[in-house]
């Protein structure tokens, strides 16, 4: 169930120069949140910036009633958020989104993420490892060595972790999708889960559809309410006519969609 709560910040970690991880006390959200859900954070009690910031949930600790999220400082809102300190309360609505990653017993799955899109995939991998017998191969790609984060964390929740950098400065050189393709060709997977930059998602989507592999992708779009009211975060439905496009909404049908349902 969605709630609007004042969540106390209990831990703040700077992962990179512009990347922060917050742990907050949010019992009601932790209780019902699923991998793929997001929250809407009001960065401060003011009309400027006006809107909440949608941020994906990185980690859910149900028993402790804690959720964690990671965000990149990109503009006004996230800059203010980065200055919030341990002990302060954050105004949060969540868990949001009805389309979440499907957790069930698979034989083997591939999880692929790029850059800041890797964060919501951690809870997914964690739940698959903790609650099912699924073999999890995780592929995460970064631009360069300095931007690689969460290696240890993903290692703990994956059977195989493949890290790529675009420039080859760390681990495998190239795009994560190429590694995924090579391995999937050798040993098939029941599902591909993806979150990351649009070019990566497009490549994953077309590969999965071509090879007939079930695939779920997590999308983002500019949004105002996050609740399914403003209808701002539209994304085109697959195969809807060019002259009469039909739309889903990221906050309602998503943020996680079947690859065969959306045109990105």
């Amino acid at each position: 169930m969605k709630v609007n709560i004042q969540a106390k910040i209990i831990k703040k970690e700077k992962l990179l120069n512009d990347l922060y991880k917050f742990s907050v006390e949010a019992k009601e959200i932790a209780e019902s949140a699923k991998p793929g859900n997001f929250i809407e954070v009001r960065v401060q009690n003011s009309i400027e910036p006006l809107l909440r910031r949608p941020i994906s949930i990185y980690n859910i600790e149900k028993e402790q009633g804690i959720i964690e999220f990671i965000f990149q400082v990109k503009g006004k809102g996230t800059n203010i958020l980065a200055q919030r300190e341990v002990g302060e309360e954050l105004d949060i609505i969540g868990p949001l989104g009805y389309g979440t990653f499907t957790i069930k017993n698979y034989n083997k799955v591939a999880i692929i993420g790029g850059g800041i899109g890797t964060f919501p995939l951690y809870e997914l991998a964690k739940e698959l490892k903790q609650t099912t017998n699924t073999k999890v191969d995780t592929y995460i790609g970064f631009r360069t060595k300095e931007l690689v984060v969460l290696e240890k964390e993903f290692e703990q929740v994956s059977d195989n972790l493949i890290i790529t950098t675009d420039d080859g400065s760390y681990k495998t050189k190239g795009f994560a999708i190429n590694e995924l393709k090579q391995n999937v060709e050798k040993e098939p997977v029941d599902m591909i889960f993806a979150c990351g930059p649009l070019p990566m998602l497009k490549a994953v989507q077309s590969y999965a559809i071509e090879k007939n592999i079930p695939c779920q992708i997590s999308l983002e779009e500019k949004m105002a309410c996050g609740l399914g009211v403003c209808l701002g975060c539209a994304v085109k439905t697959k195969n809807s006519p060019q002259d009469q496009p039909q739309y889903w909404h990221v906050c309602k049908a998503g943020p996680v969609f079947d690859a065969t349902d959306v045109e990105i």
Partner: protein, 302 residues
């Protein structure tokens, strides 16, 4: 203390309603707040047939405001009547349906159907800036507003509120057009047409290039126009534009609004409207106001 107001025959327990397009059909917010506390709910703009809406990006945040170009996406009146209305009726609040169309015939057909439904009033949307045909095209002149309002008036027995656009030189003209055609009330303002440009790509942030500006940034424009309209017509006014606190509500009422709508404020916090009601009560206690109707139009100009 009396908070009850009568807007064009719609008796509301308080003057706070939620604006069209910012509250859907009540379902989503009903999980987070007690929507029975609201004076009324103005539904999402609803048309005769379903509308898919505009290309994304549809929203963009600006200073103390936001631009939107949703394009009136809605499931159509038939779907509303079957699925959303029965749900909304479970709550102890008035239901005002925001009605939109692209031709006069469409408005009339739609209002014929609305007239048969269990709703408390109709807000005729002559002011959406985001659809090419209809809406704002009718809403900018005395004659345009009068013509379409008259044709709707003939088929609609329920309270009729005409929603006006601020994208005009003189708001008094369309306001009079609505009154002369038999509207029971007017509501204003809809969003102000705006634009925002990405300086790196040199393209507008919205796919539709331009969109409607809402939020606290536009409040002074709304207050001014409500004041001007109040001086031009005798019918009551539903005031809106940038309201986020009880004090904002009081300001609009002093300018001449009988009731108000909270719009973008709902996105900031789901309980903005509920808190505004509490703040109105606080203002009344502090200023020893027995009846909220006492303050309508009571601004004293310099």
């Amino acid at each position: 203390m009396n908070l009850e107001v009568n807007l064009a025959g719609i008796k509301m327990k308080n003057p706070v309603t939620v604006a069209s397009g910012t509250f859907g059909y009540g379902r989503e917010y009903s999980e987070l707040i007690d929507i029975s506390k609201l004076g009324a709910i103005v539904t999402k703009g609803t048309s005769l047939k379903p509308k898919a809406g505009n290309k994304p990006p549809r929203v963009y945040e600006t200073t103390a405001g936001m631009l939107n170009s949703i394009g009136l996406q809605n499931p159509g009146v038939e779907y509303f009547a079957q699925n959303d209305l029965p749900f909304l009726r479970k709550f102890d609040t008035k239901i005002i349906v925001n009605a939109c169309g692209s031709t006069q015939e469409e408005y009339v057909e739609l209002c014929k159907i609305l007239n048969t439904l269990d709703i408390d009033g109709v807000e005729l949307n002559l002011s959406c800036p985001n659809v090419k045909a209809g809406c704002m095209a009718f809403g900018t002149t005395y004659e345009g507003v009068k013509q379409i309002t008259s044709s709707v008036r003939k088929v609609l027995d329920k309270p009729l509120i005409v929603k006006l656009t601020p994208n005009v030189t003189n708001i008094q003209e369309p306001a009079k057009g609505a009154e002369d055609a038999g509207a029971d009330a007017i509501s204003l303002i809809n969003t102000l047409l705006g634009m925002s440009i990405d300086i790196n790509t040199r393209r507008p942030h919205l796919a539709n290039n331009m969109g409607g500006l809402s939020g606290p940034a536009i409040k002074p424009v709304g207050v001014r126009m409500v004041y001007q309209a109040h001086n031009a017509v005798k019918i009551p006014i539903l005031g809106l534009g940038g309201i986020v606190t009880g004090n904002d509500v009081i300001e609009y009422m002093l300018a001449g609004a009988t009731a108000i709508s909270i719009g973008t404020g709902n996105f900031i916090s789901p309980d903005t409207s509920i808190k505004a009601i509490e703040q109105i009560e606080e203002y009344m206690r502090k200023n020893k106001i027995e009846d909220i109707n006492e303050i309508i139009g009571k601004v004293q100009m310099n």
